[in-house]
């Protein structure tokens, strides 16, 4: 089932949590709402669920207006960051809860409930814990139970609020690939909230990047990572180097190196900010003809197959170090050591002309 959100706004006192947010979630897709805390992502999820009421705007499920529907009637599955398992009930009863509270007419028989719950516990691979209580389970197990409980009512959409936020790094990784596989099997329209860009890029079909109550960009993980639509998205998704540059007739100038920028062909002496990912900077030991920036290696950090370099530009008052990532092979080839002089050149950069600069600085 698809979800459509139209012009949602929500204020808490003077704080704007959502500002005119519109969004379309396709049937069967797994969508991530990504953003820093206070960006409105959780509020958006809660408004979709019906746990929060928007000041204005609409929520449509499968094209039908659900704005005035109570959370009970929306048939959404909701998974909370801190699990919210009922501690006075066994695991079995937790999962059975949504079936037991149905009006008599729609309530399955005890045998059916038993059947359905055990099937779900089997699905989350925790059927052996049916008689335990929540406090006897680990965090990862609790979150899987919370998911089983949400699925028990056969929701039309599944909403997850920072589902892995309270777990430690290892369990987190396991659980998110498990969630991905589960989604691939069940194809239930799912939206999850996260502040962890790696999580969003790795798990979701599409990512919605949010900031200050607005949507900055919607796209596939590749799109938002490779073609960020705004300085915010650039800085939020992964490491990035920022250069002040000058745009002039189809070229961007950083110092005395020029990079082709055909989309700015008509620009005349405009200032812009250029964003370059650390792995999109070429490093050479000698200046081979082309213009390149001279820099000094100030720090070398080897992480797995990648070597991170910190460089400082020569003859420049700007002392913000430039982050560069190269492969270990390339590193061996170059035989770099701390203090060496190198020449660098961005392979690819993204330009945001000056009107964006203030937004970028305020981040």
């Amino acid at each position: 089932m698809s979800i459509e959100v139209l012009n949602l706004s929500k204020h808490f006192g003077t704080f704007t949590a959502l500002h005119e947010v519109s969004l379309q979630v396709e049937s069967g897709e797994l969508l991530a709402l990504l953003g820093p805390s206070g960006s409105g992502k959780t509020t958006l999820l809660r408004v979709i669920a019906g746990l929060e009421t928007a000041d204005s705007g609409q929520v449509l499920f499968h094209g039908e207006d659900a704005t005035d529907q109570h959370v009970r009637e929306r048939q959404v599955g909701f998974v909370f960051q801190h699990y919210a398992l009922f501690r006075n009930m066994t695991i079995f009863e937790n999962v059975a809860f949504g079936l037991r509270v149905r009006p008599k007419k729609f309530r399955p028989s005890n045998a059916e409930i038993r059947d359905r719950v055990m099937k779900l516990l089997h699905l989350v691979q925790l059927d052996w814990l049916a008689d335990r209580y929540p406090h006897q389970l680990s965090g990862g197990q609790r979150q899987r139970i919370a998911l089983a409980r949400a699925l028990a009512v056969e929701p039309k959409v599944l909403l997850l609020d920072e589902p892995f936020g309270a777990l430690d790094a290892k369990v987190r990784k396991e659980l998110r690939s498990w969630l991905r596989r589960l989604h691939d099997d069940m194809h239930i329209t799912s939206v999850f909230v996260t502040h962890d860009q790696e999580e969003a890029l790795e798990v979701a079909d599409r990512v919605v990047v949010m900031n200050e109550g607005r949507i900055e960009q919607i796209g596939t993980p590749d799109e938002v990572y490779e073609q960020p639509a705004s300085p915010f998205v650039y800085e939020f998704l992964g490491n990035v180097n920022l250069f002040h540059s000058r745009l002039h007739r189809g070229h961007a100038w950083i110092g005395d190196i020029a990079v082709a920028a055909p989309e700015h062909a008509e620009a005349e002496e405009m200032t812009a900010i250029a964003y370059v990912r650390p792995h999109e900077i070429e490093v050479e030991r000698v200046q081979n003809g082309e213009a390149a920036m001279a820099a000094l290696v100030v720090h070398i950090l080897s992480v797995g197959p990648i070597v991170r370099l910190e460089l400082v530009r020569k003859n420049d008052e700007d002392i913000t170090p430039i982050q560069v990532e190269i492969s270990k092979e390339r590193f061996r080839e170059l035989q770099l050591a701390k203090g060496d002089e190198v020449f660098i050149k961005p392979r690819r950069l993204d330009l945001f002309p000056h009107q964006h600069e203030q937004a970028a600085n305020s981040i």
Partner: protein
Amino acid sequence: MSTFKQHSILPGFNLALGFTLLYLSLIVLIPLSAAFIRTAELTWPEFWTIVTAPRVMASYRLTFGASFAAAMVNAFFGLLVAWVLVRYHFIGKRIIDALVDLPFALPTAVAGIALTALYAGNGWIGQFLEPMGIKVAFTPLGIFVALTFIGLPFVVRTVQPVLEDIEAELEEAAATLGANRWQTFSRVIFPALFPALMTGFALAFARAIGEYGSVIFIAGNMPMVSEITPLLIITKLEQYDYAGATALSVVMLVISFILLLIINLLQWWSRRRSSKT
């Protein structure tokens, strides 16, 4: 003795603990033991005859019955008041919250004469009840009213903090799973509150059993009808029946200790139930 106390660099342990034990012994333990030692001077049949005499048995029934009824009413309304104070906003809430402790702060004798004046046949409340054939002052019903008054804060004050701590997410989870408000309350909130509610009930009950000041004015104090056990102790004392008074006080003490034990267990249960894991 080496394992009695763990090492600490802070001074004053011996002085503080020594003074504490001395003070407790002189003020609490030795006088309390007097009741037991003096009772031990009686033979078992003598003791049994005193503490099971018909007039005494009637006073037990009244004391326990009225205390139980008052604690039940307080459990219900205490939960209601705690709920209203935690969940809803209305004008004057702060003042009402503060006034809930009035029965703790108001001397029992004052409560006693005030309730008596109110529920007497010509009193503010009594004048409406009398025509309906309901007599409160100078009847067992009056005892129930007084005990309800003095037990009022216990349930409110034990339930209130637990209710404040219940995570909103639990209720939201229940709502997303299709539970209506009543189902959410009865299946999720109430079980979480139950240990605290029981603790508050037990505290109100324990307090009511021993209560004297607020009851004697309104009770009427008729033997076999409206005479509570603490009053019977006083009566025996005034008749210089020290053995009888002491024997009854030992019964009261034993009951108090059992209740104290139960309350401690309930509090332990409550803490375990409400601890976030």
